[in-house]
């Protein structure tokens, strides 16, 4: 079995053409990234705003709860049935599918951004205000950089969800790696089905690795605790005379 999957995956012919692995991979990645990007453009500013002002906290909490309960396939079919007839051509499938992906990616990114700002040390925020920073300066100089680790976790979680769900999007004709699963199932071509699943997993893993690297680059070491091990020179070490047994009251 494993040999057959390996054979399928390494067959050069399967990689070429408009419906080859390479094209599907790029399709899948493209949809996913666009969906995450759009979701991030909505969710990050909204999350920062809610975290900074405290207005609309309930939105984050409820949205995060609701998101866990949404069956993505159901939502997708619903969106296609509802929106599909209103548009013509490719857009009839692209728009509802894209919309669903965006909707799914928003909650984790939103809660990440919100929780990140919410979790900023109140003393640091207080000190920032006390030294004369205005609201937007506090956000830019303190809250956003301190929230970055959680914002990135939100983006990574959202991305994983989108890459997984984009697989289902093949059902409504969106293309991407999901095609191999669907086509494989339709003709009982198990190696093809399994290969599709493996490719999705590999894509998800690689994208997450790239995002982890981005995270390591943009998050301050002061927050992650990954300090350069600097051997600091302590001028007092070894020079201190033996302490007198008597204590000098100044």
């Amino acid at each position: 079995m494993i040999n057959r999957i390996f054979a399928w995956l390494t067959d050069g012919a399967h990689w070429q053409g408009y419906d080859g692995i390479a094209a599907r991979l790029i399709e899948h990645l493209g949809y996913s990234l666009i969906a995450v990007l759009v979701a991030a453009l909505i969710a990050i500013p909204l999350g920062l705003y809610i975290g900074h002002t405290g207005h609309g906290r309930f939105l984050v909490v409820n949205l995060a709860g609701a998101a866990r309960a949404i069956p993505s396939l159901g939502l997708l079919l619903l969106a296609v049935l509802w929106l599909g007839p209103r548009f013509n051509g490719d857009i009839a499938f692209l728009l509802p599918a894209g919309l669903v992906l965006v909707v799914l990616a928003i909650p984790p990114i939103l809660s990440g951004a919100y929780a990140g700002v919410e979790g900023v040390d109140p003393d640091a925020r207080d000190a920032a205000k006390g030294m004369g920073m205005g609201g937007s300066q506090v956000l830019r100089h303190v809250e956003l950089p301190c929230a970055l680790p959680l914002i990135m976790s939100g983006i990574r979680a959202g991305t994983m969800q989108v890459i997984a769900t984009a697989t289902i999007a093949a059902v409504v004709g969106l293309g991407g790696l999901g095609r191999f699963l669907i086509d494989g199932l339709a003709v009982r071509d198990t190696p093809q089905t399994a290969s599709g699943a493996i490719l999705v997993a590999l894509l998800a893993l690689s994208v997450d690795m790239v995002l982890a690297m981005v995270q390591a680059l943009i998050v301050s070491r002061g927050l992650t605790g990954r300090y350069k091990r600097v051997k600091t020179f302590d001028p007092d070490a070894g020079v201190t005379p033996p302490a007198p047994a008597l204590q000098h009251v100044a």
Binding site: D121, D123, A124, R125, D126, A127, A128, K129, G130, M131, G132, M133, G134, Q137, H141, V142, P145, C146, L148, S220, R221, G222, L223, G225, Y227, V230, T232, F233, D234, P235, P241, P242, P244, A245, L246, Q247, H248, V249, A250
Partner: protein, 372 residues
């Protein structure tokens, strides 16, 4: 000078955190607001830089009504230090300290140079510059907090329990260094604490507040200890007031008793030869006292770990309290006195210090009204 003119803060829930508070914090001095938890100290302090808006009254800084000033400008001219420092965890120490200069538009090089200068000023090694706050102890973070507040050289400093969260030994160090720093800088400081000992030690003037932000008494520490205005202030000041008041009285030129001393490594015979009443003082090469030792117990050349621990040392001319404490804490009953360089000059006994105290006029009893 900072002047509170019938300042009140009433919260919507009916809490009167501060009620009609009137007092002055003179320029170049440390004014301490002290009182039990919840009495309105923080609220009073934060109304100065308008982190909290007063609901009544006016606060003046050098004859400018703070309510008419631009909030940002007001705060840039006021250094603000809080209990847990509130350092920015994502910024290096040097970047933390340089924050306000950068906000004021200084270029990076100038702001960093200033930050490094302040790092040294507050007693931290230059090697800390590129570290992050999480790599520092609480006491070190607090020093950085002070440095950050001083960065743009504001004339006014507000400090809210800046040393409360560190252990007692470090706290004392920070207090001593704070006083030294203030000696150089002469800022107008309002300092909040719930610790009366800290208030007495640091304050040029101490304002004791009671619940509801009412001023119970405002006086210099010596006067406060001698003349608590009511039971509340007396209770709050605590016991040992007579003893603690000696901190504010310098000592005269006592005639000290000369002592024969021995160096480390002295033999049992040398120790026995130098001892008086069974005890001998061990000094180092610069004649700085190291500790007492009982000559009868010296069986081998004297090593540091054989010395008696627990005695204190007082400086000639220093506060009477220190001189008395040196005598009271000494295992030989002879208090060790040193000169300004820390070199041993002689010993004094408790009854000699007490005789001096008994003979003294009580200056703090005079002109009460003038000092109140």
């Amino acid at each position: 000078m900072i002047r509170f003119d019938s300042v009140s803060k009433h919260y919507p829930d009916g809490t009167k955190a501060v009620d009609e508070l009137t007092f002055e914090a003179p320029t170049g001095q440390i004014t301490v607001l002290v009182g039990p938890s919840g009495c309105g100290k923080t609220t009073s302090l934060r109304m100065i830089n308008r982190m909290i808006e007063p609901s009544g009254g006016r606060i003046w800084i050098d004859d400018q009504d703070t309510s008419t000033m631009d909030e940002t400008e007001l705060r840039r001219g006021i250094g603000y230090v809080i209990q847990h420092a509130g350092l920015f965890p994502h910024r290096t120490i040097v970047a933390n300290i340089a924050t306000v200069p950068r906000l004021l538009g200084w270029n990076r090089a100038r702001a960093e140079a200033r930050a490094l200068e302040l790092l040294e000023r507050v007693g931290l090694p230059a090697g800390f510059a590129r570290r992050y706050p999480a790599q520092l102890s609480g006491g070190e973070q607090q020093r950085v907090g002070v440095a950050r507040a001083l960065a743009a050289d504001p004339p006014v400093m507000l400090m809210d329990e800046p040393f409360s969260a560190v252990d007692p030994v470090v706290r004392e160090q920070l207090q001593d260094e704070f006083l030294r720093l203030q000696g150089d800088l002469g800022k107008t400081i309002v300092f909040v604490t719930h610790d009366i000992d800290e208030a007495i030690k640091l304050g040029d003037r101490v304002a004791v507040l009671r619940a509801g932000g009412h001023l119970a008494q405002l006086a210099d520490p010596a006067y406060l200890l001698a003349h608590p205005v009511d039971d509340f202030v007396a209770d709050f000041l605590g016991k040992d007031r007579g003893y603690r008041a000696l901190s504010f009285q310098g000592s005269p030129a006592f005639s000290l008793t000369q002592e024969q001393t021995v160096p480390l490594g002295a033999t049992p015979a040398q120790a026995a030869g130098a001892a008086r009443d069974g005890w001998v003082l061990v000094v180092d090469a610069s004649r700085r006292p190291l500790g007492w030792i009982e000559s009868g117990r010296v069986k081998s050349p004297i090593k540091p770990e054989m010395l008696h621990r627990g005695g204190t040392v007082a400086t000639v001319g220093g506060p009477l309290r220190n001189v008395l404490d040196a005598a009271l804490s000494s295992p030989s009953r002879r208090g060790v006195m040193v000169d300004d360089e820390g070199a041993f000059v002689g010993t004094i006994r408790a009854h000699e210090v007490l005789a001096e105290i008994e003979e003294r006029a009580r200056p703090e009893l005079e002109d009460q009204e003038a000092r109140a």
